[in-house]
């Protein structure tokens, strides 16, 4: 059952009372398959946005036969309105690193990378110090899994795992055709597990508290807790850890400024939920799990919001596939044309159809998800698009 009041929890950021890397030490004394099964059982889904079950990913990865396997921590947190991974890396980097090391141990991976977005370069020194400590501890434990930082170069689409891998290989960050998936054929052609920062931290947490405890949080469809990056018209901007399964009404009551008109859930790639749907919409269900929540109050023009998004998309699309490269430009030009009167309001319907074509034909999640914010804004705030 969804609940109508937010439940703030404090698990992910809770400082560890044990010695550094104690979770790691304990976990790697267990059976590998037990750990993977526990993760499957926990119901944890990827915290980057796509929401793939993490345990399953690790299971498939463990089955791959290869001398070399990579674990990549996706810290290319580029979704507008998201900043929770940065906070994790700043405040509890050991949980993230532990999650990576546990993953590597469980899947027999040999090398790890933290793919840090270029914009977060100021974190490098601190993370390197953390990695130095980790490498010492790992050596003590007999764990041979080196991790290094790979610094991105500024491209939103590199958050997509195959684009991320391409860029690590020194190429343009263009998503690959799938299959094959990175689990089969990833970085330098080797099996590669790419998980989000929060996913690794959550994995480590599950290893500590156990799947049973973790599952107590959230609802049947949405297990556990989740970090929310809250920004916009809110007196409580920042990162908040909440139990999953709350309605948007609960969320807006807690974090809005009392004048909330809409909430953008899941970043630009997510949905814009208007006030009239707050009661029925549950955060993370049917929308995305990246945790970006941008709050708009009644003073905001939703046309401007959408225009900003589309401009972002037209710039950040990698440009290789037709629907995404041209579609993003058409949507942007299209809403301008309707606003200026060059095209009739009915043109918006044509554009919604176009965004649907983009969803079903684009190569990667970027082009596929443009329709989420586009349709939800155009349908719910049509009058703002016209006048």
């Amino acid at each position: 059952m969804p609940y109508s009041r937010t439940r703030v929890v404090d698990v992910l950021f809770k400082p560890l009372t044990t010695a550094p890397y104690e979770i790691l030490r304990k976990t790697i004394q267990r059976e590998k398959k037990d750990v993977i099964n526990e993760l499957v059982d926990s119901g944890l889904r990827g915290r980057g946005g796509a929401g793939f079950p993490t345990g399953m990913k690790w299971k498939f990865a463990a089955q791959q036969k290869s001398d070399v396997k990579y674990v990549i921590c996706n810290a290319d947190e580029g979704e507008p309105g998201t900043f929770k991974d940065k906070k994790l890396l700043c405040e509890v980097p050991r949980k993230v690193i532990s999650g990576m090391a546990i993953c590597a141990w469980a899947t027999n991976a040999t090398k790890g990378y933290i793919y840090l977005r270029r914009e977060y370069r100021y974190l490098v020194a601190q993370l390197e110090e953390e990695l130095r400590i980790y490498h010492e501890k790992a050596k003590e434990m007999g764990l041979n899994f080196p991790i290094e930082i790979f610094l991105g170069a500024g491209a939103y689409v590199c958050g997509e795992e195959t684009a991320l891998i391409e860029s690590m290989e020194g190429k343009r960050g263009e998503p690959r055709n799938k299959p094959p998936y990175p689990i089969q054929n990833g970085f330098l052609g080797k099996p590669t597990i790419v998980n989000n920062v929060e996913t690794f931290a959550s994995s480590a947490m599950i290893c500590r508290i156990g799947a049973e405890e973790y599952k107590k949080m959230g609802t049947a469809d949405q297990r556990g807790s989740k970090l929310f990056s809250i920004s916009g018209d809110s007196p409580k901007e920042g990162v908040h850890e909440l139990e999953l399964g709350m309605t948007l009404e609960a969320f807006a009551n807690e974090f809005g400024d009392g004048d909330t008109k809409a909430v953008q859930v899941g970043g630009v790639a997510g949905f814009c939920i208007p006030r009239k749907q707050f009661k029925t919409q549950i955060i993370g269900e049917g929308n995305t799990t990246g945790g970006s929540t941008m709050i708009f109050n009644s003073t905001r023009s939703m046309y401007n919001v959408l225009h900003n998004y589309l401009d972002f998309y037209a710039e950040e699309s990698c440009g290789q596939c037709t629907p995404c490269r041209i579609g993003t430009q058409q949507l942007l030009k299209g809403i301008e044309a309707v606003k200026s009167g060059l095209k009739p309001p009915s043109y918006l319907d044509q554009l919604i159809k176009l965004s649907e074509t983009m969803r079903i034909t684009s190569k990667c999640g970027l082009g596929q998800s443009v329709t989420n914010s586009f349709s939800s804004i155009v349908q719910n705030f049509r009058e703002e698009m016209i006048f």
Binding site: G78, P80, G81, F83, F150, L151, A153, M168, N308
Partner: protein, 155 residues
């Protein structure tokens, strides 16, 4: 500015000569020379035995790999929606007025470039900007004058 040939050699010794060394090498060049000059890209192409066009294609894909002359200090103002809502345009006006350049331009003395950037993960503290690797949040016109004033004085 460092001698390009030496610099590329040094960087390729540090990061390797393979294609996957490309982005770290690029970052290293930009740290020293502020942008990727034609000579630098050609030198990298030679060092990694990759075609120059291909190298350029990769560089031009990424926002932080500048291939045209940029200033020593790159000011990147976030233009994402929340920073926009919190008054990004006023900040830009202040910066443009102080530097006497428009967004996208570089000062004549090659000290400052003023650039737009997409979300830099400081949405809860907007408007925000990066100057090279340092971040500045909750900007106001007064704050910008102080911050930029420091840079101008110490340049």
């Amino acid at each position: 500015m460092a001698e390009v040939k030496e610099l590329v050699k040094e960087l390729s010794e540090k990061y390797g000569n393979r294609r996957e060394s490309l982005i770290p090498i690029f970052q290293g060049i930009i740290d020293k020379n502020y942008y990727l000059s034609k000579e630098a890209m050609l030198e990298v192409a030679k060092q990694l035995d990759v075609s120059a066009a291909d190298i350029y294609g990769t560089a031009s894909f990424f926002s932080f790999l500048d291939t045209d002359a940029k200033g020593k200090y790159k000011i990147r103002i976030c233009k994402s929606i929340t920073c926009d809502m919190k008054g990004k345009s006023g900040i830009i006006a202040t910066l443009e007025e102080m530097l006497k350049i428009k967004v996208g331009e570089t000062t004549e003395d090659l000290m400052f470039s003023l650039l737009h950037t997409n979300c830099i993960g400081l949405c809860d503290q907007g408007p925000a900007m990066l100057i090279n690797d340092n971040y500045y949040t909750k900007l106001t016109a007064e704050k910008v004058r102080v911050i930029l004033g420091d840079y101008i004085r110490n340049k």
